[in-house]
C-alpha cells in the first residue's frame, strides 16, 4: 500500500488545489481499503512490493487491490470469529459467577422457608431432606437460567426481570413438598404459607400508611380506613413487596387515587397530589434488614439439609 501511495504521488506535492483534491480522493479510497479491513500493521504486511512502473495497467492495479482487500477481509473475518469465540468462552464464567452470588444470597431464604415448612408440618428427617434436595436441585436450575439472563445483560443485551427471590424459593419448596407430604401435611403447609403472605402484606400496608401519615397528617380513623382500603384492594402489581418497603421506607409508592382520595380531607388531597411517588415493582433487593451489617450464612447456623441441597458438604 505504501508503494501505491508512492506511485500516486511520484510527482510530489504541487500545492495546487485540483491536484490536491484528486490526490485526496485517491488517498481516501486507498485508506478506506487499508483501514476498514484490518489496520495499518496488517496492511503493511499484506502490501505488494513497491511498483515503480507507472505504465502498469489499471486492470492489474484493480486486480491487485482486490486481492489485497480479499486477504485483509479474510483476516478481519478470522479476527471477528476469534472475538466471538472469546465472548462465548467468557459467558459461562459470567453465568457461574452470577449463579454463585445469587445462590449465596438465597441460602438464608431457603433455610428460613425450610424451617417454616418443618414447623408447619413436622416432617420426618428423611422427608425433610428429600424435600430440601429436590427443591435445591430445581432451584439451582432456575437460578442458572436467571444467571444466564444476567450474564446476557452483562454482554449488553436486555435483561429479563428477576422475580421475587422468596417467592422463587417458596415455589420450589412447595412443588418439592407436594409429592412427599401427606394430604393433611400439604394442607397445613399451604395454610401456613397463606398466613405468612397475609402477614407480609400487613407489614407493607401498615408501613405505607405510617409513611403517608407523616406527609398527610392523618387522624386515627383515617389511618384505619386507609389500612382497610389497601388491604381490600391489595394487588401485588400495585403495591411494593416487603424488601423495598424496608429499603425505601420514606418513599411514597404509587397508589391508585381511588384507593386513597375518598378518605382524605381537601387539604390532605392537595398535598397528596403534590407528593413525589415511586413505583417499586422493578426494585430487587436482598438486604432484608436494610443495614450495612452483613450476615454470613455460616454465622446464622445453616443446617445440614440446606448445605446438601444447595451444594455444600456438611461438617463431619
Amino acid at each position: 500500500m505504501k508503494g501505491l501511495l508512492q506511485i500516486t504521488f511520484a510527482r510530489g506535492p504541487t500545492g495546487d488545489r485540483s491536484t490536491s483534491g484528486t490526490r485526496a480522493v485517491a488517498i481516501l479510497v486507498l485508506t478506506a481499503i487499508q483501514f476498514t479491513s484490518a489496520g495499518l500493521a496488517w496492511s503493511q504486511e499484506a502490501s505488494p512490493p513497491p511498483q515503480q512502473d507507472s505504465a502498469k495497467s489499471v486492470a492489474e492495479l484493480i486486480a491487485q487491490q482486490r486481492a489485497t482487500r480479499a486477504a485483509m477481509e479474510a483476516k478481519l473475518a478470522a479476527a471477528i470469529e476469534a472475538q466471538v469465540a472469546a465472548l462465548r468462552a467468557a459467558q459461562p464464567a459470567n453465568v457461574e459467577l452470577v449463579m454463585r452470588q445469587t445462590l449465596q444470597l438465597v441460602r438464608p431464604i431457603f433455610q428460613s422457608e425450610l424451617r417454616l415448612l418443618s414447623s408447619a408440618v413436622e416432617p420426618t428427617s428423611a422427608q425433610r431432606r428429600d424435600i430440601a434436595l429436590e427443591a435445591g436441585r430445581t432451584l439451582k436450575l432456575t437460578i442458572r437460567s436467571l444467571a444466564a439472563n444476567d450474564a446476557q445483560f452483562l454482554n449488553g443485551r436486555t435483561p429479563t426481570l428477576i422475580p421475587d427471590p422468596r417467592k422463587l424459593v417458596r415455589q420450589h419448596l412447595e412443588i418439592a413438598a407436594w409429592s412427599k407430604l401427606s394430604n393433611l401435611q400439604s394442607a397445613r403447609y399451604r395454610n401456613q404459607l397463606e398466613l405468612k403472605a397475609q402477614e407480609r402484606r400487613e407489614a407493607v400496608v401498615l408501613n405505607i400508611v405510617a409513611n403517608l401519615d407523616r406527609h398527610l397528617r392523618l387522624d386515627s380513623e383515617q389511618r384505619e380506613k386507609l389500612c382497610e382500603s389497601l388491604r381490600s384492594h391489595w394487588d401485588d402489581r400495585d403495591f411494593p413487596s416487603l424488601e423495598p418497603s424496608v429499603t425505601y421506607d420514606t418513599y411514597v409508592p404509587t397508589i391508585p387515587d381511588n384507593y386513597i382520595l375518598p378518605i382524605l380531607f381537601d387539604d390532605q388531597t392537595k398535598v397528596w397530589r403534590g407528593l413525589r411517588k415511586y413505583h417499586f415493582s422493578t426494585v430487587r433487593t436482598l438486604n432484608p434488614l436494610n443495614t450495612n451489617l452483613v450476615f454470613d450464612v455460616k454465622d446464622l447456623g445453616e443446617d445440614d439439609d440446606v448445605k446438601i441441597a444447595l451444594g455444600e458438604e456438611p461438617k463431619k
Binding site: I27, A210, H215, K270
Partner: protein
C-alpha cells in the same frame, strides 16, 4: 516527504475517541481525517502516531478529571426538591403543608381564629428561613459546581433541605413548634399530645411488624410465632422519641435485641434462637453509637 507531518493533539484526541482503541474499529470520520493527514504529508510514522494518541489520551483523561468538570445547574433543584418538581410550585407546596399542619391540629384541638393566625405567622417564618437556607445552599453550589470534590460538600447543604422539604418545615425546633407550645391551652395541648402519641404508637407498630417480617427472612417464624413476638415487643418496649430518623430500623432492632432471653426464647426453637442470637449480637454492638448520636433514648 521525509518529514513527518504534525499530528496536533486535537486531531490525535479525535482519532483516539473515534477508534476507542487503535487501530480499529475505525469509523468513516476517522478515515477522512487519516486521508487528510496523508495528503498533507504522505508517509506517517506509526510510532509517532501511536505516541501522539497515547499522549492525547492522557491529556483527555486529565481534562475529564479536572477543568471540564461541571454539574448542570438543574441538579441543584433536583437535589433539594426532587426530580420533576418545578421550582415555581415550591411556594405553593410549602403553603399547602403549612395549612395541612394547622388543620391537623385543629382537628384534634379546635383552634380559635387568633391561635390559627399566630400559627400561620410562625409557619411563614419557617418558610422564609427555609428559602434563605436554600439561597445559601445555592451559593455554595455555584461556588463548587466545577470542583470534582464539590458534590460531597454541596450535599451537606442540600441533604437536610431535601429532608425538610419532604417532611415539612414545622417539626421540632421550628418557629411553628415553638409557637404551638405557647399558644395551645393546657386542655388543647393534652388532646394534641394524645393524638401525637397515637401516631407514634401506630408508626412503631408498623415498624415492629416490618422488622419482624424482615427477620423472618433469616429465621423462618411461623405466623403464630410472629404474632407472639410482635405482642411481646409492643408490650415490653416503648416507641423511640425520634420518628423517621435515618436509623429508625436499627433503633427498633436494638430495642428488640435488648429484650430478655427468658421472654424471647420460649417462643422460638433451638435453631431459630441460634440464628436470631447471631443477628441480635451484631445489633447490640450498635447500641452505644445510636445513643451517642441521639437516635436511641
Amino acid at each position: 516527504m521525509n518529514s513527518t507531518p504534525p499530528i496536533t493533539p486535537t486531531v490525535a484526541r479525535f482519532l483516539f475517541r473515534e477508534s476507542g482503541y487503535f487501530p480499529w474499529p475505525i469509523t468513516w470520520r476517522t478515515m477522512l481525517v487519516l486521508a487528510f493527514l496523508l495528503t498533507r504529508g504522505g508517509d506517517v510514522a506509526q510510532a509517532q502516531l501511536g505516541k501522539a494518541l497515547r499522549e492525547a489520551a492522557v491529556r483527555e483523561a486529565a481534562e475529564v478529571a479536572g477543568a471540564s468538570y461541571d454539574i448542570d445547574e438543574s441538579m441543584f433543584s433536583q437535589w433539594v426538591y426532587g426530580a420533576g418538581t418545578k421550582v415555581a410550585s415550591v411556594p405553593e407546596h410549602l403553603e399547602s403543608t403549612l395549612m395541612l399542619a394547622i388543620e391537623d391540629i385543629d382537628r384534634s384541638c379546635s383552634l380559635s381564629e387568633a391561635q390559627r393566625r399566630k400559627l400561620v405567622l410562625a409557619g411563614h417564618g419557617d418558610r422564609k428561613r427555609f428559602l434563605d437556607r436554600v439561597a445559601d445552599a445555592r451559593r455554595v453550589f455555584e461556588r463548587l459546581r466545577h470542583d470534582p470534590d464539590g458534590p460531597t460538600e454541596i450535599v451537606k447543604y442540600t441533604g437536610p433541605l431535601a429532608a425538610d422539604y419532604d417532611f415539612g418545615l414545622y417539626g421540632e425546633g421550628s418557629f411553628f413548634a415553638k409557637t404551638l407550645a405557647t399558644t395551645l391551652t393546657p386542655e388543647q395541648a393534652s388532646r394534641y399530645r394524645e393524638a401525637q402519641q397515637e401516631k407514634l404508637k401506630f408508626r412503631y407498630r408498623a415498624k415492629v411488624t416490618l422488622i419482624l417480617a424482615s427477620l423472618d427472612t433469616y429465621v423462618g417464624f411461623t405466623s403464630d410465632q410472629s404474632r407472639k413476638l410482635g405482642a411481646l415487643i409492643l408490650e415490653e418496649t416503648t416507641p423511640p422519641r425520634r420518628v423517621g430518623g435515618p436509623y429508625e430500623s436499627e433503633v427498633v432492632l436494638v430495642k428488640i435485641a435488648s429484650l430478655p432471653e427468658s421472654k424471647l426464647r420460649p417462643i422460638l426453637d433451638e435453631s431459630q434462637w441460634k440464628t436470631l442470637g447471631a443477628i441480635f449480637e451484631k445489633f447490640r454492638g450498635m447500641e452505644a453509637s445510636l445513643r451517642a448520636s441521639g437516635n436511641l433514648d
